[in-house]
């Protein structure tokens, strides 16, 4: 009887522990940023939703406001932001130790847009990518549409890299 009770309690604790773990894992992680889009932000959202936290929820706050919810990114106070030698996308790659060569290559293109702002681009694909993202931003003002379209664009870009 005592043995059965211990076994049942063990199973119960295991189930509770497993449920908590699985809930924590499925709970959508919030990533917060300021309103407004640019290639770096679009690529970062794609990277977060596809490779960092697949169920991530992106929350937008008015420009200039203090973000006190979720993990801030691409804002002046965030850990994941543009530095003098690194884009937001690259800071995410670095922090999450992502070493996929295709993602690193996209990082180089974003770096070329975001950090190398003085015209002479290092990669011929940079201008194409920049124009494509700007086109998506020009076609709609709706945040969801811009996110979905840029997710599709970066998926295609990712697949096209050899």
């Amino acid at each position: 009887m005592r043995k059965k009770l211990i076994t049942c309690t063990g199973i119960f604790i295991f189930i509770i522990f497993f449920s908590i773990l699985s809930y924590a894992d499925n709970k959508p992680e919030i990533f917060s940023t300021w309103e407004g889009f640019e290639p770096d932000k679009c690529a970062s959202i794609w990277l977060i939703k596809k490779f960092i936290k697949q169920n991530a929820e992106i929350k937008f706050f008015p420009k200039g406001s203090i973000i006190n919810k979720g993990i801030p990114f691409d804002t002046p106070d965030a850990q994941f932001r543009r530095y003098h030698n690194m884009s937001t996308y690259e800071s995410l790659l670095k922090h999450y130790k992502i070493e996929d060569p295709k993602l690193i290559y996209i990082g180089l293109l974003i770096h070329d847009v975001e950090i190398n702002t003085w015209g002479r681009k290092a990669y011929p694909e940079t201008e194409k990518m920049k124009e494509a993202v700007h086109m998506i931003m020009a076609q709609s003002q709706d945040t969801k549409i811009i996110i979905n379209k840029s997710m599709d664009y970066f998926d295609t870009l990712y697949k096209s890299i050899n």
């Binding site: 407004g36 200039g64 203090i66 002046p76 932001r81 030698n85 190398n116 702002t117 003085w118």
Partner: protein
């Protein structure tokens, strides 16, 4: 009186670590590695021309404005000259990149009504002139105040006022004017913040691109060489021209010079002064206030940047203490021991003026970014080293002048009477140098407070200064916060300037203090 050997050796060790290493790295490593020819291409000719045009244009415009103002304030009977002088110094307290932020906004607002585009070489010259012409004013007025009044009076007995100005006054004040012009030229040619904000492609921008965009540190260092060579030669020429003259008079203000009556020109020239003050300090502050928007933005800026403000204060205070201490020790060795060590220290210190902030940042990264020096590279100490390598000459200049004016006989007499060297320093040299120490501390503090070029590269993760915060906010388009925070920064600097003047007047009662 020669300083003890242990003192000289310790100071020289600090000098090697803070000054000599980065300078030697910049000048010798590219040559050592023999990669000079691979970096330069035909595009660099236009960049060099742009940079020289920017610096020459700024120097020319600053000379015209600065000389007019100095002559009006020191040599004419213009009313309110004592009030006007501090107002002409105010623009120097506003960091140049904030001048650029303001005029950038003005340009985008009025561009639809009048053709006023600031995003070109002329615009950069305009902004840098407003930021740097006070250098000419300060140095020229110091030069005019140092002229022996009787020389001009004797000339006036025989010649007219114009001939006296041309034949007597101008040659006597020329070293100060030349020195001011060299300062303005160097500061303009090495400036990164203003061309970056106004999107003007010049040489320092190319250095930054090579480092940040292309990760090509060697190219960035090699590209700095021609600029460092030109500015280095100018620094040497300026030192030669100034010889033992003092640079700036602090408490004397405008001494009792011979003054010429303005007559009917009084009102137009007074208006000229007022317009200049309006453009160089009042309008920028007003525009920042307008564009900051609702007062709640100041609270938002303060609450979101309190830690950055605190960090900037702390860093600037530690930097200033360290730089003034090092600067005082170096100045004492330069003035009191005439050996090779003193010459090396003097040349090394002044060569620092010739190195662009970005290059200094790269050089310090290359030297200190290694596992053995991680305690320095990953902490605020790297920023202190950056500030030291940039601002040490601004401490050494007034301190050398101050120690030069002290009679070495006093120290010798104390030594003969049995006092130890440390006691002589503590009881004689330091108290007599107190005003110069305060001036150095304030100048270095203000420069450290607004520094951006080297800090941008050196700042360790998780740390941020106000200038870097403003730079980041600007990139993210939070314009109201940029304006509010810039205004807070200016208010803090002006407040500190007021405090400095108050303390200085308390400790220094002499009429003519020159450094």
């Amino acid at each position: 009186m020669n300083p003890p050997r242990i003192f000289s050796s310790s100071v020289f060790s600090v000098f090697v670590l803070t000054v000599l290493l980065p300078v030697l790295y910049i000048f010798f490593v590219p040559i050592w590695e023999g990669q000079l020819s691979n970096v330069f291409d035909s595009r660099h000719i236009s960049l060099a021309v742009n940079s020289i045009r920017l610096a020459a244009g700024t120097t020319f415009a600053s000379l015209i404005i600065g000389l007019s103002v100095s002559m009006l304030l020191a040599k004419t009977d213009i009313r309110g000259s004592k009030v006007l002088l501090p107002l002409f110094i105010l623009p120097i307290l506003i960091p140049p990149h904030i001048h650029a932020i303001v005029w950038n906004q003005v340009s985008s607002s009025v561009n639809k009504i009048i053709p006023f585009d600031i995003h070109n070489l002329g615009g950069a010259v305009f902004v840098l002139t407003l930021a740097y012409y006070p250098f000419i004013v300060l140095l020229t007025i110091s030069g005019l105040n140092s002229i022996d009044k009787s020389t001009e009076e004797s000339s006036l007995l025989i010649h007219g006022k114009w001939k006296t100005l041309y034949r007597i006054t101008s040659p006597l004040v020329f070293p100060h004017i030349f020195s001011g012009a060299v300062f303005v030229f160097i500061f303009s040619i090495i400036d990164f913040g203003v061309p970056d904000i106004l999107r003007v492609n010049v040489w320092p921008i190319e250095i930054f691109i090579q480092f940040s965009a292309f990760y090509n540190e060697k190219a960035a260092i090699i590209l700095s060489l021609p600029m460092a060579a030109i500015t280095g030669m100018l620094v040497i020429l300026q030192k030669f021209c100034m010889k033992n003259r003092t640079y700036i008079q602090v408490s004397g203000g405008i001494a009792k010079n011979i003054r010429y009556p303005l007559g009917k020109w009084h009102i137009p020239l007074f208006l000229f002064c007022v317009i200049l003050i309006l453009f160089s300090s009042i309008i920028p502050i007003f525009i920042l206030g307008i564009n900051a928007g609702h007062p709640s933005n100041y609270f938002r800026a303060l609450s979101s940047s309190a830690s950055q403000i605190g960090f900037t204060f702390l860093i600037s205070i530690i930097s200033s203490f360290f730089i003034v201490l090092t600067g005082f020790s170096i100045s004492y060795i330069i003035e009191r021991s005439k050996g090779i060590l003193a010459h090396v220290m003097e040349s090394g210190t002044f060569i620092l003026l010739a190195v662009p902030a970005i290059t200094m940042g790269i050089s310090l990264i290359k030297i200190w970014n290694r596992p053995t020096a991680d305690i320095i590279y990953s902490s605020f100490l790297i920023i202190i080293l950056g500030h030291t390598a940039r601002f040490l000459p601004f401490a050494v200049l007034p301190l050398c002048s101050s120690i030069k004016q002290l009679n070495p006989g006093m120290e010798e007499a104390a030594s003969i009477a049995g006092s130890r060297w440390l006691k002589i320093m503590y009881r004689i040299v330091l108290p007599l140098s107190a005003p110069a120490l305060l001036v150095s501390f304030f100048v270095v503090f203000i420069l450290s407070f607004g520094e951006m070029g080297a800090t941008l590269l050196l700042i360790p993760p998780g740390m941020e200064t106000i200038s870097i915060k403003i730079y980041n906010l600007m990139h993210y388009g939070a314009h109201e916060l940029v304006n509010a925070l810039s205004l807070i920064l200016i208010a803090l600097i002006f407040g500190l300037f007021g405090l400095f003047l108050y303390i200085f007047n308390k400790i220094d009662k002499s009429d003519d203090t020159s450094y």
